[in-house]
Symmetry: C2
Subunit: 189 residues, 2 copies
Amino acid sequence: MTTAPSSPRPLRADARRNRRRVLDAARVAFEEGGNDVQMEDIAKRAGVGVGTIYRHFPTKQALIDELTAEWMADGAAKAADALKEPDPWDGVVLFVRRSAEIMVRNRGLREVFGDVGQLFEDDARVQNHDLQDKVTALLDRAHAAGVLRPDVGVNEFRALMCGLAMAVTNTPPGAHQLYADVILKGLKT
Amino acid sequence: MTTAPSSPRPLRADARRNRRRVLDAARVAFEEGGNDVQMEDIAKRAGVGVGTIYRHFPTKQALIDELTAEWMADGAAKAADALKEPDPWDGVVLFVRRSAEIMVRNRGLREVFGDVGQLFEDDARVQNHDLQDKVTALLDRAHAAGVLRPDVGVNEFRALMCGLAMAVTNTPPGAHQLYADVILKGLKT
DNA sequence: GACGATACGGAAGCTCGATTCCGTTTGTCA
DNA sequence: TGACAAACGGAATCGAGCTTCCGTATCGTC
């Protein structure tokens, strides 16, 4: 996933620094502008030339994938938090609410989710088993406690989260918790 | 909205025929492939040259807008049906269910909805007051009967429908009614 | 402090799709 | 049926972005 975790000699100091700058700039840019930020914008924000981006990431998509992996890891962490909640239903509520909050601020993530089909069918591109597993655990626990609609599995849940992302997209600030509430109410047994 | 409803001389017979063919081909194409169908595909399906499309519609966007207007009109008709339902809540249910069904089959419409901000803020481009008004009536009636969450107005409802569209997007066939149910349950007082 | 390997910047190239243009064809009207 | 306007087809043009390339600058090592 990350470039060369193994053998070849370590990056030169300036290269390491630039790689980080590119990633940071790209993160901000994609969170704000989604897929239609341009490579040149990112380069400008990072204070490097486009060529430098390509030295570190073979394509725009590879760069996005790297960020996506980060976002998924964050999500997995959030799910892990939610699992710490003693009450199974509270766990679900917490996770959905937080997800809504995150998605309001991250257009790139919303778009990635819109692509779900592609993203999740083919596990080659972005590793997300961790997120997948944690969410499954969260839902299983709620099912076992009989507080979550039994016909909602991970896939259905994911689709609903995509929906939430969409609803949240062009929405007056603050309203996003309303959508989270509607979905939560709909999910409860 | 439609090209020149008024003064200039009527279209020649072949032109009229071609215009219809283009529109029909475009409808099918956009329903299936959304915004990324290409003008040339449409031309091919319609059995005309690209030039002919441009004789009738100044840009690709104009063509999409024309179809969008049709889709909105359909939606308004569905909302009108729903208003005929004697029970206010049944009306909402009917409308949401049917909308879900329609959206599963129409990628173009889903994408248009994804753009909601643009589409509805600026009423210059596509006329949709009719849909807007009918849905407002539907919701008002349900509010008055006390069966619909009072904090859900047209805008919130629209956002939720967008969400539904998204959820429905990469979904196993048949599952879309599940999402409609979840949202409906969440909407009910 | 000199040399080779690495990395950099950003102009040029390439691809893909929308849109334009114009020589040719077809419909309409007398 | 002939003349003219209207419409057609589709090759050529144009623009937008991603990606490549290469001359120059920097790093790390001896």
